[in-house]
Amino acid sequence: MSASVTHSRLAGRDVPMSETPPDVRFIRVPSIAERKLGTSHTAPMRLDPRVLDKMQTTIRKLETKYAEALSAQVSMLQLLVDPAAKGDGEARERLYSLTHDMRGLAGTFGFPVIGRFANSLCLYLEKAREEDWRDASVIRLHVDAIREAVDNPGTDPAITTETLAALERLVAADLAKRKIAG
């Protein structure tokens, strides 16, 4: 593989040699496409609509399965809140893991609001102290909101948006309070 070494550029701007620390080297290697195909061919640089279409069809196929699984996952979340509040470590881990999955997948599969509720809950759980787990009221509010969004997708979007905003404010205020408390 050919590589070129230069000391002339730093973070996309020209830098006088005197600014470059002596033990830093800047190296450029050919693209993966060039290494695999040589210089006479090229990889598809533009997005091919046919490939994108195949990928989107794949997502649509998985969507149905996901919608079926989602309701069961929310039921599981509801079941986990009580044992998690009582100190069951496994229940806490599972509750976080389910929420984390929802945050990652719900939006991709056409449930963006659920993804955002899950995101808000994830942010809260990632910083939750023992007393937050034991109190569990913020966790319960989120889980109830997710349940409501799954069961009643036709709810007035303004109500859902307001609920979401209220929960996000609650989590943000809580995290800010903890930051101040040190």
Binding site: G12, S31, I32, K36, H41, T57, L62, D101, L105, N119
Partner: protein, 166 residues
Amino acid sequence: MTAGPAKADPDFFRRLSILVVEDSAEMQRLLTALLESMGVGRIIVAHDGARGLTAFAAERPDIIITDGAMTPMDGLEMTRRIRASDAGDAANPEVPILMISGHAGRENVTHARDQGVTDYLLKPLSAEMLYEAIVNAVSRPIHFVETPSYRGPSPRRRLEARGTGE
């Protein structure tokens, strides 16, 4: 993005090998299915950062796609080790590392960049976002820096997250 020379290779993605490091079974399924739809020839899956390091050293994939939050080793720590100068077989300054994360904060993106992440994709993932990031990773010449402790994409470059996070 500009067009390259005329002879585009329609089977290019068949030649690619991609390592997916992800602890969620559902996310693994989604990523694997999307990469298969693209026609990627070889997909290797590892369940966390530590297994990702082992798989990377053994398989030498062209690209790594990794989740951020995983236990026991997360995607950031795995990336840090791959970019460390003294990481032995697992060290590699040039392999593109695409991180998928739910954390949209500027400080999260900056931290990922500083560990050596090449591209940062916000959840929820879309087909277009993933496709674009892979095309970008394979098409451009790779620039990296070497210091006594770090070998990877410049930690002083500008890195913006892809996606809106909503």
